[in-house]
Symmetry: D2
Subunit: 325 residues, 4 copies
Amino acid sequence: MGKIKTIGVLTSGGDAPGMNAAIRAVTRAGICNGFNIKGIYRGFDGLINDEVKPFTTENVSGIIMQGGTILKTARSKEFMTPEGRQKAYETLVKEEIDALVVIGGNGSLTGARDFASEFDFCCIGLPGTIDNDLYGTDSTIGYDTTMNTIVECVDRIRDTAQSHERIFFVEVMGRDAGFLAQNSAIASGAEAAIIPEDSTDVDQLARFMERGIRKSKKSCIVIVSESPKCGALYYAERVRNEFPNYDVRVSILGHLQRGGRPSAHDRILASRTGVGAIEAIMQGQRNVMIGVRNNEVVYVPFSDAIRTDKPLDMKLIKVLDELSI
Amino acid sequence: MGKIKTIGVLTSGGDAPGMNAAIRAVTRAGICNGFNIKGIYRGFDGLINDEVKPFTTENVSGIIMQGGTILKTARSKEFMTPEGRQKAYETLVKEEIDALVVIGGNGSLTGARDFASEFDFCCIGLPGTIDNDLYGTDSTIGYDTTMNTIVECVDRIRDTAQSHERIFFVEVMGRDAGFLAQNSAIASGAEAAIIPEDSTDVDQLARFMERGIRKSKKSCIVIVSESPKCGALYYAERVRNEFPNYDVRVSILGHLQRGGRPSAHDRILASRTGVGAIEAIMQGQRNVMIGVRNNEVVYVPFSDAIRTDKPLDMKLIKVLDELSI
Amino acid sequence: MGKIKTIGVLTSGGDAPGMNAAIRAVTRAGICNGFNIKGIYRGFDGLINDEVKPFTTENVSGIIMQGGTILKTARSKEFMTPEGRQKAYETLVKEEIDALVVIGGNGSLTGARDFASEFDFCCIGLPGTIDNDLYGTDSTIGYDTTMNTIVECVDRIRDTAQSHERIFFVEVMGRDAGFLAQNSAIASGAEAAIIPEDSTDVDQLARFMERGIRKSKKSCIVIVSESPKCGALYYAERVRNEFPNYDVRVSILGHLQRGGRPSAHDRILASRTGVGAIEAIMQGQRNVMIGVRNNEVVYVPFSDAIRTDKPLDMKLIKVLDELSI
Amino acid sequence: MGKIKTIGVLTSGGDAPGMNAAIRAVTRAGICNGFNIKGIYRGFDGLINDEVKPFTTENVSGIIMQGGTILKTARSKEFMTPEGRQKAYETLVKEEIDALVVIGGNGSLTGARDFASEFDFCCIGLPGTIDNDLYGTDSTIGYDTTMNTIVECVDRIRDTAQSHERIFFVEVMGRDAGFLAQNSAIASGAEAAIIPEDSTDVDQLARFMERGIRKSKKSCIVIVSESPKCGALYYAERVRNEFPNYDVRVSILGHLQRGGRPSAHDRILASRTGVGAIEAIMQGQRNVMIGVRNNEVVYVPFSDAIRTDKPLDMKLIKVLDELSI
């Protein structure tokens, strides 16, 4: 492994607000410290297909406040095959890229880890996902913005819920993690959250409806984590069957949760971790994700970052229960 | 018909942002001009069930910026029966209410018109609906706010559409009227709108896809007016079948379109028409809807306001076509 | 005057949200109808200095939601001289521009009018100003967005005013016109507005303070139109002297009123008038401003548009007075 | 000291978004755990003057999304005197309040500490201030919202700065702490921040202007921390004198930084610390501030919380420097 001169940067997986701020930070901190920067388009697919472009500071001008990613993104099936990864490696050689910064979530960093060990290549990860399901960083780039978007939507839905005295089941994203559901329920003053982690309680709905009825509130909001089988539609249907007196509605927030101007928090997180990625490379780090914990930039080995058990703080359930009385 | 001393105010039908500003305006302008004001809860149902409360200026303090309606709202089935309307009339007599201000959309003003003629009662309407489907006013209370909400959501969705190079079908409200779909498509820079009024064109989708393919844009947004049969899901399914190369997604904005802080425009419209309702009563008007046309407060007879053919300006289709090239 | 083949477009004067949407509309509708489009940078200065660039549809892609103007803008002193205008004309000849679309406010359209008559050149105006002080159009591009920005700011300030029980004097823009002040006062539920047009009332402040004290509200908001001598600071000082019991604060909103994502209303207005400019040129119109009145696109001769007496509806003062009780 | 039955809650000092969410959390968690809750109006002044009201869960219904504080707030001069504090104590005795939750910033918690030790009274603090200048908690209630507000304002101002190619000096709050200035500069992509902590560098402006000129950017934004002598007006004047070629403007954001709907982050922080205050009381804690560090609720002794040297991370200056190239 020689001296690193050129750094490639790509975004991968679902887009998250703040990815552009991260691209900007990697590019500018890289150039500022003497590296060449190359932008790789369409995630690992673009690496396979050699969609690579040299970046200057101007390429990332005026993007800090934009949602989405100017590098485009994708979930690459080909990169999951040895042939795909071989092609990707050949692009890196051809483009003389010595290190790769991957901005993405759990799946993308898993891909980066595998690629890094397979080809002994320097990969640095940035936690870019709205799901907050990466271990070792207090939050992920995009999570805070998405939280604000959800809360703003629920504030709007509450106007209608109260005016019509209805129960709303609002479905939010989060994949297998309940961070978005649990915390947006607290932040929006929802009456309950139904989350994947709470598996000990066989019937979260029944528990809530009992409490809800006891309180005799006439309108309420339940936040439901997305789920193939037990999403908002499922619970709404159950309430319609079991409690026919209630006027029940469903709102599935869907893709609007991903976009939008990033919050101040996410822009700063993206800026600090982007600068941190360049520093890590300069310090000879490799195969780590850059995170922020307790207001400090930290390096988290890939295998720690992507472990599946980032725990949801169960005390938050108590917070929600006490505050929705 | 004696002198009017007490005015009742209610909201009816789907809630719309700005209804609270209208309640405030009716209440304060009424009190300011020497009337007693009584708030009637839950629309015509509350009139039937005597859910009535005297209002002072304090009752409407701090509500101008709130979405929804502090008076609650409902779609009353009982009011559609002669018995229901009789009970409603008895409440008015009992509560000594001499005139009624109804804030609502097409269905609510139709109810007000029928009630007014049946009992020779002074009813004044305010155009409170996000659908903009009332004739005689440049816009309805709530329409502008909902337009801004939709456009904000589509701006967010576009971030994802562009980052992933997808086609999004975004479904918006509007009942039988395409105002929201057509105009939000123009305002959000969408590539097409599919609206109920455009019935001459048997296949709006095919027309758009041809143009879209010709342009070879890789991502695009199509706004679809809600419809039981031909909503966003229907068109997405068709594209998936007929153009399998595209990555197609659906977003149904749903109830979040109704709520939220009203825009400046809607607060002013609500304030002016609310003051106008009191003026109309003082001038002996009855059975008119208060609107604003060309920046002037106007009185629109109920039968004109609720006629079903408020036309969508077909020139707007040309605007959208020319600007989405 | 031969057939028009190439159209130049520029923005001039203070920037206004929606200017980009207007540039996009002129460009795309122009190209769609067979014209060449050239963008002129930095207003009339850029015309004098030949800062001109051919525009394609891509040049205006993704700008509909951006505040400011990608063409930059300036207030040109040189264009006020005959020599400056001569140079500007020479640029047009050299660049083979046959018609000019000027997006700007009162001063810019006055310049366009003078230039058009001096050189017998086809100029079309679009009403781009936050001040709403152009005659013949229901509103100007940028006015609605600025109204929403002001109202959002005042909503925030009210939180503090109520929490601390203070009087706030909030100064807003508007040049010599009170549209922004008067209407934002209504929309924000302010207790009073002090506007330049209300010259009959020698002492708007005293009138308000009497009413305010009578009502014994403990916090209140007064919107003040900007003015070299009698701005918010002036009135705050007077209250401090004359009513020392009150806790008085000032907030001068300043330049943040100009920027930001344009509202749905302004994007549509910009789109319709931009398309209208191209239609007007095709119909042989010249020296008109394109406006929208009563939901219809209209052509307003420059001299009408810039006349100084666009009246503020004095009934609005009554609306504010009645609703702030 | 007997068993605690009744808990009083008050807000003090400058208002901050999220204070209402904190009042709600203290009230509901208190009631949920068997305490009586009493709301004290107008901060320590209200304690002195016995402005106290029993609170039920309904008193705090619908306030989680509201800026400001329903309990009002003030900076009490009388509470700084022994006589004032004695009266305050007498109110507590009379109202049978056994513990006091004080929501406020540095000054308010200093007052609480002194009062607690003087009368051996159980006081618990919540960090309610936009300034983020309390030690022991990752952030204070209100700071995140204010950061978002500032960044939104600067995004708007940038539209104008770029359109007109100007230098803007934007002054933000923060008292003696540069958190808001430094971090909002990073988040808004500003070219520089001028902060009180950076005292080693005698001339932050000169350093920036050199770099700025070297980069030959035509527009730029400098965030300036509020300061009696060296605020935005001071630096703008200097640039006008020393670099007369630049078009310089000033924007003082002022009080609008305080209000507005709290962000998701601040609502959660307020909810968790509010619940934490009740838990602390139940555990026999006293004279501690409840904070959140590294996603965990922590108890911080008052004397630690209010020590004056909460350090600004000087690495952030490097982040800003590298990213503004």
